[in-house]
């Protein structure tokens, strides 16, 4: 009975292709084409089906399913899972599981809470409901197409496969390429799903940046996740001794990772490309004007990827310059021949460490974004503020590197007077109140402990069907049961709503950019159902985040997202008539499009301090912003082909299916 004395393993080791089978099959990559990763231990059913993920390997085009792999089989446990193989579908199941779990791990670490998938939303008899999706489903062989996408409708990743039809150095016609065997594609698609879980409204394109952000963010995560594996970089750095001081090597490597298996995404030409005539790889130089002219989501996204990568290389260079000095006795000129393996290791370690930190910064920033309509400039502010809040001192200069790199790429927040760190920080609660002329101190003590009037009729957000709710907002305990934390989010949202609409919080609404009272000149703003007075306010989520600070302490925060909705009409005159009441808004008239505005509040639950207020560009009653959205939707959205309207991607149930096709 020795079993009782054995602690469960911390992690499970699984083999994967480190790039994809195409690169693994090249002689020069012998030895680094495969990799063993550690994923957090959990008991698994065949599939694998675990706590977060279920791999279901049906292939409807072939009319078959492939038997689910049982990773808890002792034979497999003893040898780090199946060996990498293109021809064994069970290895494909193992690889999508392993890479997706690694990506989830990065999210949980950065956000300080268990990862949740977007809820299933549905309407029954006019009432909006939400239900819990425990596991992201992964279909490794769902399509016969050079495409892979996250389906927000099915909460599933669908991967395609296709026969190679061209013949070149790297491809033999007739062989099959599986998108589910590319590390970066798996990480990219999983990131879409995780981002959707945090920000379900980021699928809706309301400015040129939103979809581009989704694509770019997924590529950034895939790229830096790749860099954070020890070993992968070391080998590359030691064998390519040429241009080590410059930043070419890392960018080129980054791009190779992304190019593998054909679906390039934003990364394809994000960082540079080979000169057609000389064949020399050239880094893409920062250009402050590109953002003004490039609108296609992938191309635009590539600007954000390049900006983040630029920040990474700045830090990497600063942190390795001493190593070069040591290795070269201060000359900076490396001697002929192979570089010393110790130096290669140190350089790779620095790169991996910087990559991991950048990845954490980028993910952590998600909690600091406005709830709808993100722009690249907002994202910069989110990165800077989120990092400031956990690491006020920034000794390594990461924040400065981000600001400088973003500036070089022409990314700046709207209406900012300065690009200094302190002016980029989102305002605190007190600052936001003084900005709108509200004096006094905000008393948050009323949020917790007492019950708020969560008027069942006026509360128009989606709810669970089950009727029992916790009737007060409780101080938090670290809840590791994901189902309970999902339920807790809704309970908290109701309480927060009650506090904001019917309680003490009402006084603060203006500073949060919310409009609570009806305006006879803006009748298209949604109202609560059944004749309730005032305007509808939706508290989308109340998430908890526990973060480690640089000093070793923890910060416990509530992230609250509040939005309001307004009907938009393509016809500006119809808009005017309905706003002024000259034309009735009939029931069921939801307008041609939806304009949303609101804010994200970050509340420190220990100190009851309103740490940050992140408002959308304007409140819901702003007519200019509505007009800007109308122009964007009617003229600015690039159609995918000669027939479909550009807005098809926006309103499609499968926006990423269309988007990823177009980006190929």
């Amino acid at each position: 009975m020795e079993r009782e004395f054995v602690a469960p393993p911390v992690s499970r080791r699984l083999q994967i292709f480190s790039f994809d089978p195409g690169l693994a099959g090249q002689f020069e990559n012998a030895g680094i084409g495969e990799l063993t990763v550690n994923v957090p231990w959990e008991g698994l059913e065949p599939g694998p089906v675990g706590e977060y993920i279920e791999v279901v390997d049906v292939d409807p085009a072939s009319g078959v399913m492939y038997r689910p792999v049982n990773l808890d089989n002792p034979m497999l446990l003893a040898q780090d899972g199946l060996p990498p193989s293109e021809t064994n579908p069970q290895f494909h199941q193992q690889m999508v599981y392993a890479v997706a779990m690694a990506t989830i791990g990065h999210f949980e670490r950065a956000l300080g809470r268990p990862a949740l998938w977007a809820s299933r939303e549905y309407t029954e008899e006019g009432k909006r409901y939400e239900s819990y999706i425990q596991r992201l489903r992964i279909y490794p062989h769902a399509l016969r197409e050079q495409n892979a996408y996250y389906s927000p409708d099915k909460k599933a990743l669908l991967f395609g496969y296709f026969p190679v039809e061209r013949k070149d150095k790297f491809n033999s016609p007739g062989t099959v390429v599986f998108t589910c065997l590319s590390h970066d594609i798996i990480a990219h698609e999983t990131t879409h799903a995780l981002l959707d879980g945090v920000h379900p409204r980021f699928n809706r394109s309301v400015n040129p940046d939103v979809l581009a952000f989704h694509e770019a963010f997924a590529d950034i995560v895939a790229l830096f996740q790749h860099f954070s594996y020890p070993g992968v970089l070391r080998d590359q750095i030691s064998r390519t001794r040429g241009d080590l001081v410059g930043d070419n090597l890392l960018a080129q490597l980054a791009q190779q990772f992304g190019r593998a298996s054909g679906r390039g995404g934003a990364l394809r030409d994000a960082l540079g490309k080979r000169d057609k005539e000389t064949g020399v790889w050239m880094r893409r130089a920062p250009n402050t004007n590109e953002l003004d002219t490039v609108l296609e989501p992938h191309d635009r996204g590539s600007i954000l990827v390049a900006a983040v990568f630029g920040a990474f290389t700045k830090v990497y260079r600063a942190r390795t310059v001493d190593l070069y000095r040591i290795a070269t006795q201060g000359t900076g000129v490396l001697p002929e021949g192979e570089i010393h393996p110790d130096l290669a290791k140190r350089l790779a370690d620095e790169a991996a460490r910087a990559a991991l930190y950048v990845l954490q910064m980028c993910i952590r920033a998600l909690d600091y974004c406005p709830p709808v309509g993100i722009t690249f400039g907002d994202y910069l502010r989110a990165i800077v503020t989120a990092d400031f809040d956990v690491n006020p001192e920034d000794e390594a200069g990461f924040r400065l590197a981000f600001v400088e790199s973003f500036r070089e790429w022409g990314i700046h927040p709207r209406a900012m007077r300065s690009m200094s760190i302190d002016s980029l920080l989102w305002p605190t609660g007190d600052e936001s109140m003084s900005e709108v002329g509200l004096g006094g101190n905000l008393d948050l003590s009323t949020i917790f402990g007492s019950a708020h009037d969560t008027d069942e009729v006026a509360y128009s957000s989606g709810t669970r069907k089950a009727a029992s709710y916790v009737d007060r907002l409780l101080p938090w305990t670290l809840e590791s049961d994901r189902r309970k934390s999902w339920e807790g989010m809704e309970d908290s949202a109701r309480q927060m709503w009650g506090w904001l609409v019917n309680g003490e919080g009402r006084k603060y609404a203006k500073a949060a950019g919310l409009v609570l009272d009806e305006d006879p000149k803006r009748r298209t703003i949604f109202k609560p159902p059944k004749g309730k007075v005032g305007l509808a306010v939706e508290v989308h989520s109340v998430r908890r985040a526990v973060r480690k600070t640089a000093k070793g302490g923890t910060i416990d925060c509530l992230v609250v997202e509040v939005t309001q909705r307004r009907r938009g009409y393509y016809d500006a005159d119809e808009q005017r008539r309905k706003d002024l009441g000259e034309e009735e808004i009939k029931s069921g008239d939801n307008g041609n499009f939806r304009f949303r505005a609101g804010c994200t509040l970050i509340i420190e639950s220990d100190s009851l301090h309103l740490r940050r207020v992140i408002r959308t560009a304007t409140p819901i009653d702003d007519n200019d912003e509505l007009e800007r959205l109308r122009i964007f939707l009617t003229r600015g959205v690039k159609p995918p082909n000669a027939y479909d309207p550009g807005t098809r991607i926006i309103y499609s149930r499968e926006p990423f299916a269309l988007l990823h096709r177009e980006g190929d």
């Binding site: 492939y66 038997r67 769902a142 669908l158 007739g174 669970r464 600015g636 027939y643 309207p645 550009g646």
Partner: protein, 497 residues
């Protein structure tokens, strides 16, 4: 009793050295009658005759192809010197029926090289096109069985390729043998001429309109290059429409459509046919819990069950057909014959772009046209454009936007210098029909906007009556004085230089 009294007494009256253009309001589609004053009287060139069935009902006053062809017969006395077919799409061809054109005399028939029976590339394109239609038809019937809205989108695209005048046919009905098609329209036209049609290659020679000395015709497209027509950018290995092989790769989308299930990408020992999952108890129980057959289990209202129906993917793979249909439509558009009619050497130019899209546009300036008195440069030629027949009903990529200094032809290249004041555009589109019935964004608002900026009010669109504005600039008054509008057509006169 004529339905449009006003439209039945007007003749086309080209000025000496100029041209008169009648743009028929046939619906969402193209039909243009050009008239020049030749040595022995008027010469008529008809470019296309087709419409999307049903779109004519969305005009301010409904028209019909019968009315249109009757008017052509009256104006031309049944004698067309040249008939041009830009490309093989329903909305450019289905007006050409045996019955309507009975007794017409046609002098010459102009096609692009794509219609040539002796061109190898053209033959290969045709074979592939047939294969694609078969694949689409198979995908469409499976999607329709599942009630997918994609089926209707595919029907509309297939209708373009096959032709005919009936509304709302399904792909199966369209493919049924014996129906009137684009092919029979071409056959009818071929039967009316002596000898063979002229299959024109771009940039090879300056073409003449028989009977008119002063008009020279420059064919700018379609490029004789598969990739340029397909508009393929170098995007990884993705090459759709696919390379020329008559056999389909085993693991391809099309192979699965053909029902070749045996070609799964893995060895048989890993796979279980979906209809035989029940044979293994263990697998069957796993499958029922994590994917599901038939109804889903529902034990907890708040949690999505593992076998929830909405998460299954039986038909998702078929949606690739949607892209295939779009690609086929764009490919045929790009095979459009693009003609620039020049009124006298160095004179004004009328540009008829068919439905050319980006790949076609981009090739226009590939070469100069050889001429004994100095070659004709395309950029210079396009700068003299005073009338632009907008490509593909004003859709995305059928009017390239750009700047004068860009090295690819674009809207800014057209109507420059002294021709800018006269530059006008004709948009053969019925927006209400396109948006509401087909779901097509024609004309694209951003292109409408660009044309408006470029032409001011000098844009003529099928579904929009011209507002006769007596006031306005000199250029506008001049434009109005050369324009006539009836419910059946717009007339536009271009004066010689």
């Amino acid at each position: 009793m004529p339905r449009h009294p006003a439209s039945h007494d007007l003749i086309l009256d080209p000025p000496m050295g100029g041209a008169a253009i009648r743009m028929y309001r046939i619906g969402h589609g193209d039909c243009f009658l050009l008239s020049f004053l030749g040595q022995e009287g008027k010469v008529f060139v008809l470019i296309d005759c087709g419409y999307k069935p049903g779109s004519e009902k969305c005009l301010p006053i409904k028209t019909s192809a019968d009315d249109v062809v009757a008017d052509i017969r009256r104006v031309t006395d049944g004698k067309l010197n040249v008939v041009v077919v830009t490309h093989e799409h329903q909305d450019h061809l289905n007006g050409f029926t045996e019955e309507r054109f009975k007794g017409f005399e046609i002098g010459h028939l102009w096609f692009s090289w794509v219609e040539s029976e002796s061109d190898q590339l053209a033959n290969a394109l045709r074979r592939r096109h047939e294969g694609q239609l078969r694949g689409l038809s198979a995908a469409r019937s499976r999607l329709a069985a599942n009630g997918s809205p994609t089926a209707a989108r595919i029907d509309e695209m297939v209708a373009l390729e096959i032709g005919g005048e009936q509304e709302g046919l399904t792909t199966e009905e369209l493919c049924a043998a014996g129906r009137f098609t684009n092919k029979s329209a071409l056959a009818m036209l071929r039967s009316k001429i002596q000898g063979l049609p002229r299959c024109i290659y771009p940039h090879q020679e300056i073409v003449r309109v028989p009977g008119v000395d002063f008009v020279r015709v420059f064919a700018l497209g379609p490029p004789h290059d598969e990739n340029a027509i397909a508009d393929l950018e170098p995007r990884g290995g993705e090459a759709f429409p696919r390379t020329f092989s008559d056999s389909l790769p085993d693991m391809s989308f099309e192979a699965a459509l053909g029902g070749r299930e045996t070609f799964a990408p893995f060895a048989g020992r890993y796979a279980t046919r979906l209809d035989r999952v029940g044979e293994s108890e263990e697998l069957s129980s796993w499958y029922d819990r994590h994917y599901g057959r038939g109804e889903e289990s529902n034990d907890d209202d708040d949690v999505v069950s593992g076998n929830a129906k909405f998460r299954r993917i039986e038909h998702d793979w078929l949606h690739s057909a949607d892209r295939m249909a779009m690609a086929m439509g764009e490919f045929t558009n790009n095979s459009s014959l693009v003609l620039a009619f020049e009124l006298g050497k160095g004179g004004k130019v009328l540009l008829f772009a068919g439905d050319a899209q980006r790949g076609n546009w981009a090739s226009w300036a590939a070469k100069d046209f050889p001429d004994s008195e100095g070659d004709v440069n395309v950029r210079e030629l396009l700068g003299r454009t005073v009338l632009y027949k907008v490509g593909h009903h004003g859709s995305h990529n059928a009017t390239l936007q750009g700047r004068t200094q860009d090295d690819y032809p674009n809207l800014a290249w057209l109507g420059r210098n002294r021709h800018a004041e006269e530059f006008a555009a004709m948009v053969p589109a019925v927006r209400k029909w396109a948006i509401e019935t087909a779901g097509w964004d024609h004309p694209l608002p951003s292109i409408s906007q660009a044309l408006k900026v470029k032409c001011g009010e000098r844009v003529i669109q099928t579904d929009t009556d011209l507002a006769h504005n007596a006031e306005g600039t000199h250029a506008m008054i001049d434009f109005m004085s050369r324009t006539r509008s009836t419910p059946l057509y717009f007339d536009y006169v271009v004066m010689p230089d």
